[in-house]
Amino acid sequence: MLMEVRNQIKVIFLSLKYNIMREMTNKITFLSNILFMILNNSSFIIQWVVLFSLKQEIGGYTMKEIILLWGIASGTFGLSKIVFSRAFELSELIMEGKLDTFLVQPKNVFLSAITSETKISAIGDLIYGYICLFVYGVTVKNFVLFTIFLIAGGIITAAFASIVNCASFWIVKGDFFADALSNIMIDFATYPGNIFKEGVKILFYTVIPVGLSNYLPVETIINFNLVNFVWIIGFTGIIVVVAFWVFYKGLKRYSSSNLMNSRI
């Protein structure tokens, strides 16, 4: 069992390495992709600067906390798109019969499929996340917590994307449904959680878990609370189990296809 996990991790890292190697063949595109993503993320801070010139606090946050929130949002999204990029495209793999390649390999189909591609611009998101942490104020404790929450948030984001994308096992054109829900998760990640009313908050801490991938980690870095920390880690475990369960439940309905395609 341990050996199996070790070998699976080895394949994931090898896949990541080869994907990055592919992108690095064109140095200019590789670097500009990362740089432009950092610039793109920075531009969003301007709207917050304008808002804070009108109001001192928004949802209990000042500009400092907003920068931390952006750091967590950008970092979690970046990490999920670097390692688990294809979780966001699982619908396409299901509908177009592209899981065949992974099904004939002696590895975990779900993990092999979602880790088979890397979005290079996401490296920019991850770097931007850490820049935000440095602007917010870095300490050893903050750095460790931030890193743990990026990993947990990245896994939550990818697991959620996988679950909604698995809709394609049951419904035709499940990609529309999956894209809509994945986008909600990403779009709401950069707003302070406290601006939402109770009903919406419940939604964000359960069905669309942006609260657990973003809002609660920010709160926990600002004011450390062990219960919150355990809850974030525990929820990460729960959503991973759910994602695996949904995928393997759906896989029994997988119908493959005879479309001509290649692995690029």
Binding site: N7, K10, V11, L14, S15, Y18, M21, R22, T25, L99, D100, T101, L103, V104, Q105, P106, K107, V109, V172, K252, Y254, S255, S256, N258, M260, N261, S262, R263, I264
Partner: protein
């Protein structure tokens, strides 16, 4: 000894039916109608260890669906499958170490990587140690004559070279059975001949069982001793090539069988 055993295997797909035009589209949302298609309908057969079997039929006959059930890609609706003593639906990973697959219409290789890097990656997938994989790559690249392009990115290779690399990737872990789904599709006659020679060599030297589907009569005639013909999900013939052959070319005989079955 039988290496593949299939008993009463069936696979059905539920397909949504839509009437024509925009009215039909609206109707299919409000009140969707489905029909069930039996892609594979109660088939039984067995394959002996070391055998080279042609599993053929017209388009939509159920060949690929059967191969996909044998390799663990699709779950059967009913029936039993044992491949090398393993149930593909229940022990997919265990089976993957024992089989190799080449789908002529679907590439498994990473096109931006060289064949060498691809083989290293496949070696890791099959948990092969680094020193062992180097020896295996060297051995297979000699057999399949890949030395001159083993360090060229796959995207720059010709179709024939790519198929040879696909076969090496499928053989990297020394599988006991090789499933070939249209391996010579789109290849010129010289490359086809070369590929067939390599398949025969593999069967003879390594004792690999070959399960082949192809529309190319040349593949069937030159490689296999036995042929199973399927149509509309059912086996309509299971015989030796020798018995099938009369004074007519094999292509004509197979076409006649297909036509009779369609009527």
């Amino acid at each position: 000894m039988n290496i593949i055993e299939v008993k009463n295997l069936s696979k059905t797909f539920k397909i949504k039916e839509k009437e024509k035009g925009i009215k039909g589209s609206i109707k299919s949302i409000v009140k969707p109608r489905y029909k069930t298609i039996k892609a594979v309908n109660d088939i039984s057969f067995s394959v002996e260890k070391g055998e080279m079997l042609a599993f053929i039929g017209p388009n939509g006959a159920g060949k690929s669906t059967t191969i996909k059930m044998l390799t663990g890609i699709l779950y059967p609706t009913s029936g039993e499958i044992m491949v090398n003593g393993i149930n593909p639906a229940k022990q997919r990973k265990k089976l993957a170490y024992k089989i190799g697959t080449v789908f002529g219409q679907k590439e498994q290789l990473w096109t931006h990587l060289t064949p060498y890097d691809n083989f290293k990656f496949f070696g890791a997938i099959y948990d092969i140690q680094n020193n062992e994989i180097e020896d295996r790559i060297e051995e297979l690249s000699k057999t399949f004559e890949l030395e001159s392009f083993i360090n060229t990115p796959v995207r720059n290779l010709s179709l024939g070279q790519r198929i040879r690399c696909e076969m090496v990737a499928a053989l990297i872990h020394k599988p006991e059975i090789l499933f070939l789904d249209e391996p010579t599709i789109g290849l010129d006659p010289v490359v086809k001949k070369n590929i067939r020679k390599l398949i025969r060599k593999m069967n003879k030297e390594l004792g690999t069982t070959i399960f082949l589907t192809s529309h190319d009569v040349g593949d069937i005639e030159k490689l296999c001793k036995r042929v199973i013909i399927v149509n509309k999900g059912k086996i309509i013939m299971d015989d030796t090539i020798k018995n099938l052959k009369s004074n007519k070319p094999l292509e004509d005989i197979i076409t006649e069988i297909y036509q009779e079955a369609t009527i």
